[in-house]
């Protein structure tokens, strides 16, 4: 059976939705950040697949930039998490209620 663009798109969709459901269901902020990484990675598959389909490598450049952005986002998110942990001894978003009224 020939593997077509549709297969890659559907694979990316399933992975994206896994990440999204995980983000909503999990309450541990570190795991929530990891779910976002999974979502970004599924978008990378879409870019790479279309890049191959169109035969231009612009999508590859986008994927590379996406790596860097994901790293930057993870670094800042984790730094904020560590800071919260220092004060609250928790990274569970349900316990962070200072802003909820």
């Amino acid at each position: 059976m020939e593997i077509t663009l549709t297969h890659y798109l559907l694979l990316a969709m399933v992975v994206f939705l896994t990440g999204m459901v995980g983000f909503v269901v999990r309450r541990n902020a570190i795991v929530m950040l990891m779910c976002v990484e999974l979502m970004l990675s599924s978008v990378n598959i879409v870019f790479a697949a279309y890049s191959r389909f169109h035969g231009n490598a612009d999508g590859h450049v986008f994927v590379l930039m996406n790596f860097a952005v994901a790293a930057a986002e993870a670094a800042i998110g984790l730094a904020i998490l560590v800071e919260i942990y220092r004060r609250r001894r928790t990274v569970n978003v349900d316990d962070l209620k200072a802003l909820m009224e």
Partner: protein, 171 residues
Amino acid sequence: MEGILFWVCGILMVFGGLMMVVQRSAVVSAVWLIFAFVCAAGIFALLSAPFLAVMQILVYAGAIMVLFLFVIMMLQGPVLEGGRKRLALPMWPAVAVPPMAIAVMIIGYVKRHGTTGMGGPAPEGFGSPEHVAELLLGKYLLAFELISIVLLVAIIGALAVGKDERKLPWK
């Protein structure tokens, strides 16, 4: 051959993602995520993007996930276990609707815009480091500069947020 590899990598990647969501321990979740990323590297290789496949392993599965694991280890404690929400019944629609909406949208998109082919064989050297470098340092040079600034901001920001003033050597 491509078909077998696609199914192996694809199913394992989805499996890894699912396990990451299901596992209660953050460390185990992180390891499953690394597993999923390695499978994604396989998908990149199938899409004739060898450079991306290598970078996926080096940067994503390597650097970024090491950062995650490092933080998890640093905050090691009972709080990191557990952490799945027990949803009250009225909350379920709120959780289920956005992903389902996206699923419907994407399936509709793929139905209308998917294809049965891959657009012919990839040209010689497609997706090789040389090919990507030409674009990165040519057409996309400005974006390359911008991303370096984004990373610098991330470093400064992480420092500003995370540093413990009392322990800095010059204080």
